[in-house]
Symmetry: C2
Subunit: 252 residues, 2 copies
């Protein structure tokens, strides 16, 4: 829908991390014109890969995950429109986890060379990328708390709150509702629970009137109550702009 608009979600989101100059936005926009479609289940990045191109979600849901020797899967993060899948690969040697599409996705492919070149000449871009890595770190830490110390109901509630806030930040929440193209198995692997248990947890959340979830559409009946119930505090998403905005320039 609205090709041009959706395309710029990546740039828009980056600029909320740290303001971008119009020129930088234009150049980033130009760099994200190579768009590929992925089907649900497609693997975008594989552990051990040494990717030469960066991937930015424009539409759809994806996730980071790791597989254990015994076949169990742990989802590490959901990737929503505007998210960069592999920002760290600009510097690191190889992927240490996988990324796969959880729904049909449109993903922008950006050669590292282009992104590096852009970053070298544009301090605001470098700053935004660095900042986005810090937010990801912060989200990962909250996930540790989620799987480590909360009960099933709170885990799921907390996760749904996080997704709500993150989607809202890119304008994908309307009337307390958002598209959630996730399987109960996906929710299970994100929360460290089993699919059967997720099913029962969802039923209880529905029975308590906290959420409605039908055919991929989630409705939060009372966000305040769900936050309270789940122990959710959006501070860890660092929604505001950074305090200091030093000029960062990457020059070759």
């Amino acid at each position: 829908m609205e090709g041009r608009l959706m395309q710029s979600l990546f740039v828009r989101k980056l600029s909320t991390f740290s303001p971008l100059s119009p020129d930088s936005e234009r150049e980033l926009e130009r760099a994200t014109r190579d768009i590929r479609a992925f089907k649900s289940g497609d693997v975008v990045l594989r552990s051990g890969d040494v990717p030469q191109r960066a991937h930015a979600i424009l539409e759809g849901f994806a996730c980071r995950y790791k597989l254990l020797p015994d076949g169990k899967r742990q989802i590490l993060d959901f990737l929503i429109p505007g998210d960069l899948c592999d920002g760290h690969m600009l510097f690191m040697a190889e992927m240490d986890h996988n990324v796969a599409a959880l729904s049909a996705c449109r993903i922008a492919i950006i050669p590292h060379a282009t992104l590096l070149h852009l970053t070298e000449r544009r301090p605001d871009v470098a700053r935004a990328l660095w900042w986005s890595a810090l937010v990801q770190e912060s989200i990962a830490r909250e996930w540790i708390v989620n799987v480590g110390r909360r009960f099933g109901e709170q885990r799921v509630g907390h996760l749904l709150c996080e997704i709500c806030f993150r989607l809202a930040a890119v304008g994908l929440v309307r009337d307390r509702e958002y598209q959630l193209p996730l399987t109960q198995l996906d929710l299970a692997d994100a929360t460290g629970l089993s699919a059967v248990h997720i099913n029962r947890v969802l039923q209880r959340l529905r029975a308590d009137g906290l959420i409605r979830l039908r055919s991929g559409k989630l409705t939060v009946n009372d966000l305040r109550r769900l936050e309270e119930f789940s122990g959710f505090d959006p501070a860890y998403l660092h929604p505001r702009a950074p305090v200091r905005t030093p000029r960062i320039s990457l020059s070759a």
Copy 2:
């Protein structure tokens, strides 16, 4: 012990992330001359703080943690000599978690102004700091897997492997042994288990001949076996130097 040597662990570790020029090392060294002692239990950084100074561990163990409304604690990471507690605070608005000493610690206090100034003039320093943030992110993700999808024995085993590798990287492992000044409650809060259960897990690991743990000293009898048992793969610690080393300069 050996004041001068210990002091430079922070600099030494940073330079393993990304090589530092002798000048940068010298300047960093000079910036870390303000050293404070902390007792076990002392809170170094509190959630909500807006610190004006960065903290680097020179000696001892500390941890990041969050407290839940019901009083439960989840440890998010252990901070060992060489680690920067709050690198992200150079950019972010406020702390979203706490940092406390788990043993007697010596911690270098570096004013943000100094660190920023240094970073602005020295691309190699900026690059090393960015890189260190990426490694922290990677560690946090592996912790999600640990608490989400492993059994008690493997969780603890995996954690002990990680600490072993990280301590070894700063030269604090000798003869498969290292100082582990952690309470069983600390291990519990790091693995999402209860203190009682940790006790039983440790007994089983000892009985299986995998480890020895007495009076704060941990011995790994057979690292290969412990890794295999715990599903540990050090790749996520990204021990090697970054592939690309673009010049990053922060200029005000």
